[in-house]
Amino acid sequence: MKKKDPTAVTMAARTAVILFVFVIIFTGLLAGAYLWTKPALEASAAEEKMKLIDEVLPRSAYDNELLKDTVMLPASPLLGNDEPTFAYRARKGSQPVALVLEAVAPDGYSGRIRLIVAIAVDGGIAGVRVTQHKETPGLGDYIDPKKDKNKVRPWITQFNGLTYAAVADKEWKVKKDGGRFDFVAGATVTPRAVVKAVRKATKYVAENQNDLYASK
């Protein structure tokens, strides 16, 4: 008996089935790889976040799982965030120690400057770091301590220990504008933006502190 030539329809159906089988196999492969690597990927993302937080708040200062103790901050002009962000609440023996939150300076020399700020429960700034910026290399980028030529006392550390209440509003400025903060001549827009953003973030925490620590 001679085999019949396949018609167009059976041909199309056969290739469709084969393609479908390939899609199932390779989608399965992708899903498997995703599920298998997911815990490791999450761990390394958390580790990177912790490395950043370590720069503003030493790990010895708290004993809770910082990344799990979060509170959502709605978009606020004081923080400069367009979308809700998270603040991390550091506690030691269930007593609040500090808040770690993100702040955005919208008015950098070339675009937004993203900051991470740690504010202790007494209102004092524990540390500030720039996480993302596009300031001019070699000029405005001294806000990042890795690029700052002053290694002993990088520019960004002059916020440490200050509180919103203890510094008068007109002091929250660079020296050129009559305030108390240093700047590097030729690049005042950048520090001005950072000082303003830090002031607003400390103000936000000072106004909302109780809610921030209490809310679930």
């Binding site: 084969i18 490791a40 990927l41």
Partner: protein, 226 residues
């Protein structure tokens, strides 16, 4: 197993005769974007070698199950799935290396070299040969991109190996030209890549034309005698 002649011809094809960048002129998009310095070019090529070898072995093993009519979508499926799996595995298991190579891996999906070699070679040859073809095509790309990146970097900024400290923290980039070298921005910008690639292609053609001429001269007396 594979014979020595076949191995040699695969290697020769990949590294010189069918060089992806100089002869096939494939994958120009990552080539332009990445070869602003030598280290980037080498890193992209290393990631490409890995993906080409894997997709070669995968397609060659499955080649008898893939109907001719739908081979291209199936190839794309295989390549895209493999690249994504490599990306995930790298990130999870070799995180330090991933931080360096990571941004280049997704770029490879868009690289037509992979699809071209799968279609032209792996779909018609056994897995071992297809793997070797992938590796040597990648090696061909590696030296070309390294050369192109090195030239652009040297002409554009007067340095060599900039960015090496991201791969090996102890090493420092070399400043070959005087520190007050003003730099030639054109070499760093994409048009500079096109111009230098053109020069490299011309150089390769010149080398081959010379070799051909020498061979002709050697053959000539015999022809005259006969």
């Amino acid at each position: 197993m594979i014979e020595r002649d076949e191995f040699r011809s695969i290697a020769e094809n990949g590294v010189w005769k069918q060089n992806t960048s100089l002869i096939q002129i494939l994958g120009l998009c990552p080539l332009l974007a990445v070869t602003t310095n030598m280290v980037n070019g080498v890193m992209l090529s290393l990631a490409t070698i890995l993906v080409m070898a894997l997709s070669g072995v995968a397609v060659a093993s499955l080649r008898n199950f893939i109907p001719h009519e739908i081979r291209i979508p199936v190839f794309i499926l295989i390549v895209a799935a493999l690249v994504t799996v490599v990306d995930l595995l790298f990130n999870a298991k070799l995180h330090e290396l991933y931080v360096i190579l990571g941004i280049f891996i997704p770029l490879i999906v868009t690289n037509c070299i992979v699809l071209a070699r799968v279609e032209a070679y792996a779909a018609k040859n056994p897995p071992l040969q297809a793997t070797l073809d992938g590796i040597f095509m990648g090696v061909g790309m590696l030296w070309t991109l390294a050369l192109l990146g090195g030239l652009r970097e040297l002409i554009g900024a007067g340095t060599l190996f900039s960015g090496i400290d991201l791969v090996f923290p102890d090493l420092k980039p070399l400043q070959l030209l005087p520190a007050d070298y003003p730099g030639l921005l054109l070499a760093i910008l994409p048009p500079g890549a096109f111009i230098l690639l053109g020069c490299l292609i011309a150089w390769k053609n010149w080398v081959e034309a010379r070799a051909a001429a020498r061979q002709q001269r050697r053959a000539a007396p015999v022809a005259a005698g006969g």
